[in-house]
Symmetry: C2
Subunit: 264 residues, 2 copies
């Protein structure tokens, strides 16, 4: 068995890494408990903008893992930070669900459906998407609005299938307007990596990012200069490593191999 | 002034060529009247699947131009023909508006919203598009359905703006499923060109296609081996010719230059 040193900061993807749907993955509870006891800093990451940070914290707590909402970074939180830094006070049209809209409003951004007033169209995972929203986005962008997005995921896995995610919304708006989305803040964007390292308060070389997706979790960690661990409990199989331009530092069958647990 | 020979068959784009919105373009009525009197065959083309062929004929008649619905070829009619030839009896899920759905039903195709039953997802210009339809398309394609589309247009021009067209619907479905649409039957597809030459009953070299868009009307004519005329009354300006890989046989300020009219 490989020996993995301890890191000062641990950044965990959630779905496929800590839990799968409503089930905690083997070894996750013991791992988190050990890291907490040792005083390691812990952060949880998600590209999903359809739940608030509080909802993620509550979900972890329900599954028996101590977590505070300030330890959660999801793509809507990063979108708020990016807009505060790059376009404070900008008028937004949000193609997204209520939690994202609520977080942007709470951060003081005015919302508008009038194309001439809209400075940014924010595209997102939106199960309430309609043609009317597409029309407003189209008119706004033709009138000069900029297009940004929360996350690049094609679909969100759900038991027995998936739900069309932000990639579909972004593609629809791009196709009719013949423009490209300027910024996608979620994984693997360095914008999300920066938000996480700021939050965790440690330089990248003292952190490890742990996730189940090569093209988001591992890609972001490699690009940000962090060590990385791919867990095989979610989206990726060992065979996927051959095709991947991003290679993790470690490959784990179970997440508790990070603390020497084998479980087998 | 250029001298343009007479052709046996005339294939006209509609919007920007014969009319603009509700206004007949200069010289169009006289041109059509002359061609009819001389016994030339005439066909009208549109990529727009949101109106029936009868509605197009009625619109031309209201504008003072004799036209029968059998002289109209739009992308929904070509979709019906393509499916009859390639997938007779196939079960369809249509992401489109009522006229397209009606034409497919009238041609005998069963419609379904059950992913496992759907053989083809037909993507189209759909101002009634919702996330629910995207979800059904996603589930159907993941279960093995094939993706085809009526037309490739980014947006449909309307007075003072535009409406997101089929390109947005196609892109959304492609992005979440990571598949490519197999067939887009509308202009500039050779499938539409074949439907038109079959209908007009003349070989391509005895026909001319007349339209205002280089990348659809002129591209289709050039590819099909027809002479072509670009009219500058719609989408294209003379400067667009420099960048275009498709060059028309003639460039017209007014459509009646086809019969030696100048109007100026």
């Amino acid at each position: 068995m490989q020996t993995i040193p301890r890191y000062d900061g641990y950044i965990f993807d959630l779905d496929g890494t800590i839990y799968l749907g409503d089930i905690l993955l083997p070894g996750a509870a013991e791992l988190l408990h050990t890291l907490r006891r040792e005083g390691r800093r812990v952060t949880f990451l998600s590209n999903n903008p359809t739940k608030t940070r509080r909802q993620y914290a509550e979900r972890l707590q329900r599954l028996g893992i101590a977590a505070d909402e300030h330890e959660i970074v999801n793509s809507s939180a990063v979108m708020v930070e990016w807009l505060l830094a790059n376009a404070p006070g900008a008028s937004l049209f949000v193609v997204g669900e209520a939690p994202l809209i609520g977080e942007l409003e709470a951060a003081g951004f005015p919302l508008s459906e009038k194309p001439g007033e809209i400075a940014f169209v924010v595209a997102s995972f939106d199960r309430t998407f309609t043609y009317r929203k597409l029309q407003i986005a189209f008119d706004a962008i033709r009138a000069g609005a900029r297009l940004v997005a929360t996350n690049p995921d094609r679909f969100c896995p759900v038991p027995g299938g998936g739900e069309p995610d932000a990639a579909a919304i972004i593609a629809a708006i791009e196709a009719c307007t013949d423009t490209r989305c300027e910024v996608i803040v979620g994984k693997p964007s360095p914008i999300m990596a920066r938000t996480v390292t700021n939050l965790i308060g440690l330089p990248p070389e003292r952190c490890i990012i742990v996730g189940d997706r090569l093209m988001t979790d591992i890609a972001m960690g490699v690009t940000a200069g962090m060590d990385t661990a791919l867990v095989l409990t979610g989206d990726s199989q060992r065979a996927d490593l051959e095709r991947s331009p991003y290679q993790p530092t470690y490959v784990l069958e179970r997440i508790d191999e990070l603390i020497g647990g084998s479980g087998v």
